[in-house]
Amino acid sequence: MQITFKVYRKDPEKDGKPGRSNYSVELDEEATVLDGLLKIRDEMDDTLAFRASCARGYCGECTMRVNYKACFACTAKVSAFTKKSPEILLDPLRNIPVIKDLVFDWDAFMWNKITAVKPWLEPDESSTNGENLLPDSTMADLRKVMSCYYCGLCDEGCTVLPVDFDFLGPAALTKAYRFVFDPRDKAGRERLKIAEKPKGIWDCVHCFEASEHCPRGIAPTERIISIRDKAFKVGITNEKVARHHTSFAASVKESGWLDEGRLALESEGLTNIKGLMKLLPTAARAMARGKAPIPYLHPKRPGAEQIKKIFEKGEREKK
């Protein structure tokens, strides 16, 4: 079949402005997008730059957008993308600095962020003979997380990264999970602190896009939530968001519904004068709209006692 590839181009040695090149290629029914690209580079235009390594879906190196859908060129069958028209658009992933054509900056996009979570196990140097005895269920969970291809599709789907490129992103935080939940890691609390730093787990907005995008079903969003939970459990709650969670739960437990005034104050921290000052305009607006009556009282809701019991039961079970 005859396919026209319309490929994103950028040449850092010329004006660096993006453009597009069109290539008409004869391919067989079984061909993949990567087959098409290799043929173009070999026979039509040897200046075209794109990456590929394993060429059969193991490694994530050839991630790109095919007709705007982020996927792997090596497993993307051309026939699946040309049902409506014999044209295929190829672009680099979104929101990432492009170096040349389809080659983008993996370092800035993912590798450097992974390095930032100190992605190594701190082994117990004293354990000598024989393997650690560990249940397969724990290991199976780690194997699932470590099936990660480092393909970046979760980062590409993330809704925080387009507004804050410095956010560590779901791929790096999923890597952090692998250590946080590995019983052999001796860095424990210290590692949670890394993930908890600015641009870490608290900046995730739980939109679940990362989990939607992950081709391996690793559920990066749920992994981030698990790290947060663990941070809470070991008492890392001095962060604003952690305070937010604690206050949220305490308010609902006591009154059966959310006390927004208390939430705002406790989230900022009662000793954080600067933070509290920032709340003043919001409080004034709320008062003006009658949302915060004076004196400020937060009455219990009907059924609040039952809600409290649910909380207490949950707390007992956790213990």
Binding site: D46, A55, C59, L121, M146, D185
Partner: protein, 541 residues
């Protein structure tokens, strides 16, 4: 100029393990790799890695199985030492974080794999390479070892007789730079891409073997190419782990009848049985994974299920997948001693690019990753010792400018019309047809003639892309040059060995000939031409 005690070239399992060992031994070290370490060929390994950890097992039994797979061409002392050390290195890997599958008691679970006579293969589902590679990379990062990723080594620097560094092209910067070192460790992987299809990643093109060979090192047992029996042969070729066989899968003929009488066979024997079946009119062969059962397939072979679907378009829980033997992994490579030293002082080699005689004429399934660990550690320690005693030598003055000229000639901007891809396709077909699973004298003669003409065409290649930044046309042309030189060495060694042994099958010499051929072949350059010699197997019987 970048300067280190030890330079490791290659970021797969062997290179990472070696770099960790060098750092541990107290020398300065850097790693250069043409693709990011987590994208290397090591990540494709599935079935697992061997260590004699079972109650019914021992280092002696492990050594026996390794020797049997090697069809009497292994270096026995090397095999015995390897079998002794394997468990320690695999346990180390567990300690630093590999989440191996576990038995009910929480121990590392062991699976039966290939012709291992015991359950001794440690595994992580069917993604062992991917996960082992990650853990090695984690420990590599822990030691903060400088890593030059997406740097392509174009040449080794030899001063007098010693290897003193390398020249590499930064794909991102587009700059050619010298790296000096007192010791260089090559860990550049195999060369099976000279066959099409094959089981390996695109960069498995034998660069390191060719760099070493042209710098004066010798290549050993190059005719020994392992074919893998259970490969979906379309497209690039998709390997289905042979571990599936021992877990219940069957190779079946067109009527659905099993083809193998036993599954505890070496890969060579399974491949030959498949060939025999096809010649006897079995029709197309396929692998029936349904016999493993859906649940076990999903829990132990998740990647196989996924890739069979995405790559081959086959749901293996519902139907068998077509297979045939496809080129997998060479046993031969850069000749080294037991510690990874080559015949060139200061040059070391490890992993799939090296040949110490561990694997002889055939490799035991599951030995390669263990080899990467054991020999990676050893070569790191040996190269460090060498580096500490070696004098600092200057980088040969004209080396960099010579390389500049060589690359400039390729990228002169006047497209020659011929392409690396076309020449590669022809080579891949030729190697399969004439230097494949079974060879003969006439075919090998023809192969050698045609390799010469492909080399001639390769010499004339000119690219229109004159940039150095991410110029993959340039690196492909260089890789093709390596494959052509090595293809010639493979065919020459195969032509010389007039017997059948292990992976080397000659239709015109079907018997094993211990009297004349219980020895290695060694190819070296003499006045610019490759020469084959015999080298005795050490240690006698």
């Amino acid at each position: 100029m970048q300067a280190f005690d030890v330079l490791v070239i290659g970021g797969g399992a062997s290179g990472l393990r070696a770099a960790i060992a060098v750092k541990g031994a107290g020398a300065s070290v850097a790693l250069i790799t043409k693709v990011h370490p987590l994208r290397t060929n090591s990540g494709l390994a599935q079935g697992g890695l061997n260590a004699p950890l079972g109650k019914d097992d021992s280092a002696e039994k492990f050594a026996e199985d390794t020797l049997a797979a090697g069809d009497d061409l292994c270096e026995r002392d090397i095999v015995r030492a390897f079998a002794q050390e394997a468990s320690r290195d695999v346990i180390w890997l567990e300690h630093v974080g590999v989440p191996f599958n576990r038995s009910a008691e929480g121990r590392i679970d062991l699976r039966q794999f290939g012709s291992n006579s015991r359950s001794r293969t440690c595994y992580t589902d069917d993604r062992t390479g991917h996960i082992v590679l990650q853990v090695l990379h984690e420990q590599f990062e822990r030691l903060q070892i400088p890593s030059f990723e997406e740097w392509f080594v174009t040449s080794l620097a030899v001063d007098g007789s010693a290897c003193v560094g390398a020249v590499a092209l930064g794909l991102r910067s587009g700059k050619l730079e010298p790296f000096t070192a007192r010791a260089v460790i090559l860990a550049t992987g195999g060369f099976s891409r000279m066959y099409l299809p094959s089981t390996v990643s695109l960069g498995t093109t034998g660069d390191g073997q060719n760099l070493a060979f042209t710098a004066g090192a010798r290549l050993m047992d190059m005719e020994m190419i392992q074919f893998h029996p259970t490969v979906f042969p379309k497209g690039q070729g998709l390997l289905i782990s042979e571990a599936t066989l021992r877990e219940g899968a069957e190779i079946i003929n067109e009527k659905g009848e099993p083809v193998l009488e036993s599954k505890a066979l070496t890969r060579e024997k399974i491949c030959l049985a498949m060939r025999q079946a096809t010649q006897n009119g079995s029709g197309a062969l396929s692998l029936d994974l349904r016999r493993i059962g859906k649940e076990k397939l999903a829990s132990r072979f998740p990647q196989t299920l996924e890739l069979a679907k995405t790559v081959a378009g086959i749901d293996v829980t519902k139907e068998p997948i077509p297979i045939r033997p496809v080129a997998h992994r060479p046993m031969g490579g850069i000749e080294t001693d037991a510690d990874g030293a080559t015949s060139v002082p200061g040059m070391f080699a490890v992993g799939e690019c090296a040949c110490s005689g561990l694997n002889g004429a055939g490799r035991l399934a599951g030995n390669t990753l263990t080899e990467a660990l054991v020999f990676g550690r050893k070569v790191g320690e040996t190269a460090t010792r060498h580096a500490k005693g070696a004098p600092v030598k200057g980088f040969p003055g004209s080396k960099l400018s010579d390389e500049e000229k060589r690359l400039a000639a390729l990228t002169s901007g006047n497209f020659s019309g011929d392409s690396a891809g076309k020449i590669h396709s022809e080579l891949g077909q030729l190697m399969n047809d004439k230097v494949g699973l079974v060879r003969d004298g006439a075919g090998l003669r023809e192969a050698l003639e045609r390799i010469q003409s492909l080399k001639e065409r390769h010499r004339k290649i000119k690219l229109s892309n004159s940039s150095r930044i991410y110029n993959y046309a340039l690196t492909s042309a260089l890789e093709l040059g390596s494959m052509l030189n090595l293809a010639e060495a493979v065919a020459l060694a195969a032509q010389a060995r007039s017997e059948s042994r292990g992976a080397h099958r000659r239709a015109d010499f079907p018997e094993r000939d211990d009297q004349n051929w219980r020895c290695h072949t060694v190819v070296s350059l003499a006045q610019g031409s490759p020469q084959v010699e015999k080298k005795p197997v050490a240690g006698g019987a």
